[in-house]
Assembly symmetry: C2
Homo-oligomer: 317 residues x 2
């Protein structure tokens, strides 16, 4: 059953013309993470590799392709957590770097802290030799178009956000049974400057514990925080529920208690995995036993040998 | 049993010459919160009143009296959470305001977000008419002395922090049975610029849910985050454990799993309350049924009528 990596590209509605590219993107990220695991890399190495690749893909709301805040700027949040030590690293409202998830890992590995924010995170990035990238390199035409639309009178950025893909993330178990999670996001469309969502908040955007498993979440951040969704799902698993049942219970609780939609990827230390969502869609992919699994719509589950090229399934191809 | 408010002034070691002032400070804050509740105020009104008073007291590590970051500056974190709605508000790494807990409440009440950080939080404060205070007004001689000592070669700010009082916080239940929590801090001594600890992180620095209760935590932030201490204690209460047992179980788990010390104040919606800590000391006070309860050392519990002036008990008087 080991190793395994599971990736999500954000809960929400994926426009038809983007659906094939979305499943290709998460499949490719899962492949990258799996290659790391096959090469003897740790689950932490694998989730950071997978999420970095999604940050570099302009299709997803993280790194390049992040949504814009109310001033038209990119401010990003990211989190990693290591299930062996329970150590975590996060950055919030960070600017001008290509891969926030890698900086989050540096916070975990190179400081005595668990989270650095805003200009403090930038100063740390500089001290680590992380290259500063121009703001424009993170902004896509699509992000700018959505930002402009949301400035129009009567616009509803929260509703609009659910019509776009959210946060990206990954969970993995390596051959030693260590679990890890990583989550990265540009946040909410047209958010206030300095807004921090669930992603860098341990227990909400993700959680990893070798005693139970790992979860990475996506959806409306402020709602996920109300129920500390990642930690909640792992509590259900500690009570004996399967990864799939616990994930569904967490999402059902968030729906019934605070009317929130979202999605998660979940693993346990034995290598059982789930990709579940209450939103219309969530692009996801998993790699295990040389097989690649992926899907986008509720109930959809395609499988192929991981060596084969990605097979198109969605109508836009 | 209702209403009730419980306050803490931070886990750690309280120097002997400060012990009486510490119990007086938390007792006075509990009285303020109780007055609000008696006047028909909500549990949220009460915890914000109590914590604001501790922020204004230069003895405690929050607001005026905050510890200094590595550059000798004050950057503060605060969180509030409303158990009725599960809505929360937080600020992180905010500067130049007297009462971060009040700004955290404004984030909850006046924005669609749950957390604002750094300069974004300052911009929001200005837009709300919150007065900017000079940096010096938040810095005490004591803070500056500790900061200088920690800059010396071989200094250990983490160990030193446990020799000083941490974060402050409060939990309350109002006559309608609504619970709330509030937590505020200057963070870790000589922390990196932009370091964010457990305090503004929902589930770690605090959590409140009318279905189970409310918790505010204090201790080494990075360790509290590893176990999402506030949410953990409420999970134990959801499983049927009392406020006291659940608080002790949470602290014992943090000790055994990640070798961390800390303290908590906890209430359930029926008005049962606990003030528990694994650190050497924690100044705490509770007000219920016109009685004031308070203590500082393990096992210490003084009680008096809330109308009476504070009775000195510690050796420094």
């Amino acid at each position: 059953m080991l190793p395994v990596v599971v990736v999500h590209g954000g809960a929400g509605h994926v426009p038809k013309e983007r659906s094939e590219k979305a499943t290709m993107g998460v499949s490719s990220a899962a492949r990258s993470g799996y290659l790391v695991l096959q090469g003897g890399g740790s689950s932490m190495d694998a989730v950071v590799a997978a999420v970095s690749q999604l940050e570099n893909n302009p299709l997803f709301n993280a790194g390049c392709g992040s949504v814009l805040n109310v001033k038209g700027e990119v401010e990003m949040d990211a989190l990693v957590m290591d299930g062996k030590t329970l150590c975590s690293g996060a950055v919030s409202a960070v600017r001008n770097i290509a891969n926030p998830v890698e900086l989050a890992r540096m916070v975990m590995d190179k400081t005595s802290h668990a989270c650095l924010t805003a200009e403090g995170a930038s100063m740390f990035a500089r001290s680590m030799g992380v290259p500063e990238v121009p703001h424009e390199s993170l902004v896509t035409e699509y992000s700018r178009m959505r930002w402009r639309k949301n400035l129009e009178p009567g616009a509803d950025p929260v509703a609009c956000q659910m019509g776009k893909m959210g946060t990206v993330g990954a969970v993995a178990v390596d051959v030693e049974g260590n679990v890890a999670c990583a989550t990265s996001t540009g946040g909410m469309m047209n958010k206030m400057e300095g807004r921090v969502g669930d992603t860098p908040c341990i227990g909400s955007g993700g959680y990893a514990d070798n005693h139970s498993g790992a979860v990475s979440t996506t959806g409306h951040g402020e709602t996920i925080m109300k129920v500390t969704l990642a930690r909640l799902i792992l509590f259900y698993m500690e009570q004996g529920h399967s990864v799939e049942a616990a994930s569904d219970m967490g999402l059902a609780y968030m729906k019934s208690r605070v009317d929130g939609l979202g999605g998660v990827v979940t693993v346990d230390p034995q290598g059982n995995w789930a990709a579940r969502f209450s939103s219309l869609q969530m692009a996801w992919a998993a790699a295990q036993k040389d097989m690649l699994h992926y899907g986008l719509y509720v109930g959809e589950h395609w499988s192929q040998n991981i060596q084969e090229p990605h097979s198109p399934h969605h109508a836009d191809i």
